[in-house]
Point group: C2
Chain length 333, copies 2
Amino acid sequence: MTTSHEVRLKQRPVGMPTAADFEMATVEVRPPAEGEVQVKNLYMSVDPYMRGRMIDRPSYVPPFELGAALQGGAVGEVVASGADGFKPGDIVSSMYGWREAFTAKAEHLQKIETHGLPVQAFLGVAGMPGLTAYVGLTRVAEMKAGDIVFVSAAAGAVGQVACQVARLKGCTVIGSAGGPEKTAFLREIGVDQVIDYKAEPDLKAALRRAAPKGIDVYFENVGGAHLEAALDSARPNGRFAICGMISIYNDERPEPGPPNLALIIGKRLRLQGFIVSDNFDLAPQFVAELSGWIKSGQFHYRETVDEGIAAAPGAFLKLFTGENIGKMLVKLA
Amino acid sequence: MTTSHEVRLKQRPVGMPTAADFEMATVEVRPPAEGEVQVKNLYMSVDPYMRGRMIDRPSYVPPFELGAALQGGAVGEVVASGADGFKPGDIVSSMYGWREAFTAKAEHLQKIETHGLPVQAFLGVAGMPGLTAYVGLTRVAEMKAGDIVFVSAAAGAVGQVACQVARLKGCTVIGSAGGPEKTAFLREIGVDQVIDYKAEPDLKAALRRAAPKGIDVYFENVGGAHLEAALDSARPNGRFAICGMISIYNDERPEPGPPNLALIIGKRLRLQGFIVSDNFDLAPQFVAELSGWIKSGQFHYRETVDEGIAAAPGAFLKLFTGENIGKMLVKLA
């Protein structure tokens, strides 16, 4: 039998999660039965949406269970297989994150075609966060060449892809992130106008300076003052892809929305919420396009990698304190 | 020469407008030159959107000028014509409201095909407010038979049409209005579930009771607590046609938006602002459909009519105190 360490949800966080909300456990992983595969995880993902699943409420995905290993994206290597089409050494992705190893039915795994990319890219730029950026801009916001595109949390896992997809598709890109290291990264990846929101007392004024002609598309990751600034700067018929509002995920009492929401009317704005999993049909097209851009040197990305399963809760918390640049990952093997 | 009384904007209102913001004037109306038409107004319209035009700011229509007659929808009768295609007795609509008579270029007038409806209907159910309701539901919200539709300010000029268009197109309708007279009217016009928002301490709870399965479409006229309740009750892939937010038009300091805006994401909601004037192409189709419904007795509507040009400022203020049922009009002749 193989031993695996896993991280479980011990109690539901109130406000900002703390280490006390998680607990480590050691479990035995049984060999695969017929139709099953045993996997050693190489990398696991931590993502902002997981905060919502820690709350016990109806949503588009069920809440995490207390006392059970947390779920989330992971990539791993097949170590034993009882299923046709899977053999040791194959690289697979799954939702069996927050654990070192597991045995699962083959239909819960996806074999990865790496297109020459490192495996962990399939948790980041080439995985769910990257596809989220691509779907949000191309399908939800119907971005077209020449648009002025504003991206919040622009140095994050989704934002770094959104900025570059917009640039590579002929748009002007304004990116907002917090602190000198992130804003320097945004300049490296070709963002036209960079806003350090932590250094700006008035984000509305900062966006007006960065985009004097206004914005056509807003890729929303943050909420709050960022949404208010985007509404203020939106041009007529602007399209907002509403992907996330990380600024409010840990609020114990929800903050009010922006006071200028009525601008939606006169400017004929469209605010459209979306979930990447409704749009997996775009994944093959996206990965093909992305791997081409990466190979030709037109696309760059960053990862922030912590090591070992015990680091997972801390890595998750970094998402909310803004300590990651690019995709936040935990390397497990 | 003909004499006309007109209402001018004397000063820009701060907060709720008062009588002191308006002034009456008497002007001479010259006979029509070549290409011009002289019109005696029969009815003029007061509409909530006019409040926005009283503010000096860039918007989709320019602000009203101080010291000049206010503009707005009016229907009148041609009394003299120097233009081909217009003869005394013709009924025309124009934006030369807030005055008893005027002379204007023929291209600023539209001859009305009444389809057997009374002329003032073309300021209400068959005019801009009615078309707004039709456009918002059919084009903006892409309403389809079987949808559960929530309409705020449901007993107003736009709302009364929205409720009935939804019902006649096979939807379940929930309407919100304030007070027993308006809610009784909503029951008369076949609204399935009626909410008296003035009698409800918790609008969210009231909408949950009225629409236990949730809502697919929200026709937004009000903003504030109504928008919050609609977000709360929205079903996945809900579509909100954002037409107006009358609750906030007189705010000196904008109220914050709803605290539950992040529901847009998980529910994949679409909030789309719109302006009726972008959608005049739908007018012939709408008027044809509407006149059929009215003639066959399937569609009922109300007007609130004040008399005389001097009553216009007071009629306008009633929009914000909620004293009108159906379309608010001023009869001029």
